[in-house]
């Protein structure tokens, strides 16, 4: 595989700059030259099933931009983007690149990565697994990667939940609740001190469990970069754990609220940050 790739991180992952920066650091650590691309300007349009004209416009624009990158390789972080490219976008556009998933690329270069993982991480980790991403069997790939970390004990678990990531379940609140309960039971049953998430939306929807459960919730890329000696900070989790409205506002800070826009923060972002997982 080429050493130059476009790293397509997606839209919703921008809540977690730590995940994006860790993922890029990991690709670079295994010798890959990365062109990152994401945010609204690279949306796949998967959320636009109610407006297919918009979905098509977004899909075409994003494919054209990837073609212009000229890397010939697009590596996706988000399973929804990957799925949408495969099942829809790629069916009516001229894609001049191969699509792969981040876990595949990193796993293929795990021998190089292993050399960089020098810091011991004394954690007992349970991987939070969904079974719905049929295109790429990510769970064993991530488990292999976590086993490279010195000091880390990976719990064997049969617990897997529907959907390809937690955001898919949020449309059916009872199912999200069951899945959340299942990961809590599995982690506590195994006395794990850490639940590792694979995808950003699981990190988003599960991170606040730290407020009521005895385990930490960390995305696996941050465990890998921690072992490389890199420090990351999950702002989103800190904000979710702040608790009250006043505490969230203080944690986010006036400067960032101003950058987000005060009205948008009050109307849409604050309610999201105050919402706690149901289990």
């Amino acid at each position: 595989m080429t050493d130059k790739v476009t790293f397509w991180y997606g839209c919703n992952v921008v809540r977690h700059g730590d995940i994006i920066h860790s993922a890029i650091a990991l690709l670079e650590a295994v010798g890959i030259e990365v062109t990152p691309a994401g945010g609204a300007g690279y949306c796949c349009g998967t959320a636009k099933d109610g407006n297919l004209r918009a979905a098509e416009g977004m899909g075409k624009r994003t494919v054209e931009k990837f073609n212009e990158h000229g890397t010939g390789q697009v590596v996706s972080w988000c399973p929804s983007c990957y799925r949408h490219m495969n099942a829809f976008m790629g069916e009516y556009t001229d894609t001049q690149f191969q699509l792969s998933h981040f876990t595949q690329l990193l796993h293929a270069r795990r021998d190089v990565l292993a050399i960089k993982l020098t810091n011991r991480i004394e954690r007992k980790v349970l991987l939070h697994k969904h079974f719905g991403f049929h295109e790429v069997d990510v769970n064993p790939l991530v488990e292999d990667l976590l086993r490279l970390i010195p000091g880390l004990e990976l719990v064997e678990t049969e617990t897997t939940v529907p959907g390809h990531m937690c955001s898919a379940l949020s449309r059916v609140p009872a199912a999200l609740k069951d899945a959340t309960r299942a990961v809590c039971d599995a982690a506590n049953g195994a006395k794990a001190d850490t639940v590792a998430t694979v995808f950003h939306s699981c990190q988003r929807l599960l991170c606040a469990l730290e407020g009521s459960e005895p385990f930490k919730v960390v995305n696996y890329v941050n465990l890998l970069t921690e072992s490389m000696g890199m420090t990351t900070r999950d702002d989103y989790k800190e904000w979710k754990l702040a608790g009250s409205e006043e505490a969230v506002v203080a944690a986010v800070g006036n400067e960032r609220i101003a950058a987000m826009g005060e009205k948008l923060f009050r109307d849409s972002i604050l309610p999201e940050l105050l919402k706690q997982p149901s289990k």
Partner: protein, 143 residues
Amino acid sequence: MPEKAATLHAHLDDFIKDTLSRCTRCGKCFEACPMTRYGDGLSKADPKTVVSGVLDWLQQTPGNEESVQWLKVCTQSSRCIEACPEGINAMKMVRVGQMSAMGSLGLQGAPALSGREAKDFFRVINAFSETQMTPDEMARWQR
């Protein structure tokens, strides 16, 4: 190799025609679905009836209530794809059925399903980006 469709609508038309020509209405996709216990009445629904309803949606005809319930609880678990003996992407079939039930394929009348997009979706994405990226990263990675 058939020529690639030029538009999303053309691709969906091809997909619908192909699915309708190959689906035997056996119901195995529905039987494999891990979400049926979350839909009203779905646990006891006849799989063939549910699938027939989804195929109605694909043909721009409102499907039965059981099919609406299935469209509502699909969370893209992929089990239906593995279950289909005809090699149909049943998850995509359900997704296109959802599009039809949202009125996105031209079906008139009140939509049976609403769109999935969250309120202020892109504004929220841009707002979080402002807090998580440097201005330089925003300029280089997100334009």
